[in-house]
Symmetry: C2
């Protein structure tokens, strides 16, 4: 059922910043036309909503009596917090009352709730989490960024198929260039996981461009890079950390003499434009691909803009019928996937 | 035999920039007191030397009739190019005519020559390549950055022991903080490789600080991060690529309006200081640890300063008797290492 109006369930209780920013992001997205269901402590949510001009937007509230904290272990949270906002949100999708979930809460628990409540698309071996990174040109997709570790070639192969659909349906790429992240440019370079996956991708109908190295991620010359969740998560967090540290070092140097200080003030406009280019909020969340609905996992530190962007991404995913396209893509490649099982 | 004067064999034929920069780096290091043997095409090397003021420095030249190119496969290079500069340089160490090797040539071939000609220290399972990264504070060591992929816990454990010695003897750290690179802060997070290695490091006498994430690498709060060569190589190249891309994006924005342009010119001093802070040349090469001598693998793009710094590192390694300390460290931990074999 393509082009339906998607309803997104937003976990109001997740995130390091409390629910003020989340509720205001939800209102903002609702005003732009996406129906929202806010899930969490009803009293707290309604108090936040009262402060905002909600006008004629479609916002429902569904109460959830429990909250998963950042310290909870995913397995414990699954078992002991069945009425937590994230589980209630996922149940809305399962029951057809919402089409997607956005949460900035405990990512492990969010992944677990998505997998066990919403459930996997038939044939998906492991859902993969896609990170969307800014590059010198367009954004690119790194998958998996930590949903699974100790992956097998067939998992990586399916990540490629799923990220291809995501890049088309949500990022609007025509014919995404899919690469495999490894440690040498030539065919046959890498570890055993990469070598087998390489051959699977090569025999697929994807626009496979071969090996890419860490240094190629940010040039924007490839649209999707496939890797194991351990590697992807290290890469994602390292990028975040390096960008921060470089920023700190540069700021320190710009303050160290008065002429540089004045120069930096004059160049403020450029620094701001630069900041927007590399702003994580622009692609607010990491989609968990392979479920019967869409779950957007936001950073615990996500601000209101990031949450709003994540809601928009989830809505675009549903509008463009990406789940159906995921099914088609996976089915078309099932023979290659099964060849290694 | 501690505190001896080390002689370093420099591969004059490696690197993307030709031998001019390499020879001048060698002369510069020799002038500061490190005896050098330049290895490669004797005629070419002597022509370069003639252009420089070599004064009273100790520089020998040893002829090698072959050159390993960047395109050569390491195994082919080992077999077919026995008189290549890198093999001749390693043979000098094997024969006691030099104490260490510096090369900016084909890194795979350099690692292979080091392993098969100089040979491993008794008990070393896999030599590991250490990358030295600038951070917000002191530099830090990431090991392994690509000598091996598909590593086992005992390999990672030995990398930790060897990097500890390197950080003490060459970087001058008193009690290096050793962490394991993984994807969560708490004990028990990561893949199966990391979990086993964690326990080995925990039961060692190293100053083990536990799990560290990608984002912690550049803060400078840990001195050594241990990881598989696949992960380390991706991390190293990604850092390089991201720093470049951020630089390009910022430069682009600074040029986009005239006020920012003027501001950037005024702040030039700060940008230069910043550039020096993050300059790769500062720690010119990646040491291959675990051999009966030291091999410094430089980036193909290494400039003259980087090569000179690499020569200095190699010399410091020998002067401080690091091979003996590696042996001691490995022997002291052999029981833990063998527990998983």
């Amino acid at each position: 059922m393509p082009n339906k109006t998607p309803r997104i369930a937003v976990d109001a209780m997740g995130g390091d910043h409390g629910l003020t920013g989340i509720v205001s992001a939800a209102v903002s997205a609702a005003k732009k036309g996406t129906p929202i269901t806010l899930v969490g402590d009803e009293y707290m949510i309604r108090s936040e909503l009262e402060k905002l001009d909600t006008g004629s937007c479609t916002i429902d509230v569904v109460h959830a009596s429990q909250v998963v904290t950042m310290e909870d272990k995913p397995a414990d949270a699954m078992r002991k917090k069945k009425d937590s906002s994230i589980q209630v949100a996922c149940r809305l999708v399962k029951d057809g009352l919402a089409d997607g979930v956005v949460s900035a809460g405990n990512s492990g628990a969010t992944v677990a709730a998505g997998m066990f409540i919403i459930g996997r698309i038939n044939g998906v071996l492991r859902p993969g989490m896609a990170g969307i990174l800014p590059t010198e040109k367009k954004p690119m997709v790194l998958i998996d960024v930590g949903a699974n570790v100790d992956s097998k070639p067939e998992h990586l192969f399916q990540y490629g198929i799923m990220a291809d659909v995501f890049a088309r349906d949500v990022l609007g790429f025509k014919n995404p260039r899919i690469g495999i992240l490894t440690i040498g440019e030539e065919e046959g370079k890498g570890n055993s996981l990469v070598k087998t996956t390489y051959n699977m991708l090569k025999s697929s109908s994807l626009n496979f461009v071969g090996n890419i190295e860490g240094r190629d991620i940010f040039t924007g010359d490839v649209d999707v890079a496939v890797c194991d969740g351990f590697v992807g998560n290290v890469a994602l967090k390292l990028s975040e950390g390096l960008a921060n540290s470089l920023g700190n070092l540069l700021k320190g140097e710009l303050k160290r003499d008065i002429v540089s200080k004045i120069g930096a003030m004059l160049a403020m406009k450029a620094f701001k434009r630069f900041g927007r280019l590399v702003d994580k909020s622009e692609y607010g969340g990491a989609p968990l691909l392979g479920l019967k609905g869409i779950v957007l996992v936001c950073h615990g530190k996500a601000d209101s803009l990031a949450i709003e962007r994540a809601i928009e991404m989830a809505a675009r995913f549903v509008k463009n019928d990406a789940v159906a396209h995921l099914k088609e893509g996976l089915a078309a490649h099932s023979e290659i996937t099964e060849s290694t099982l």
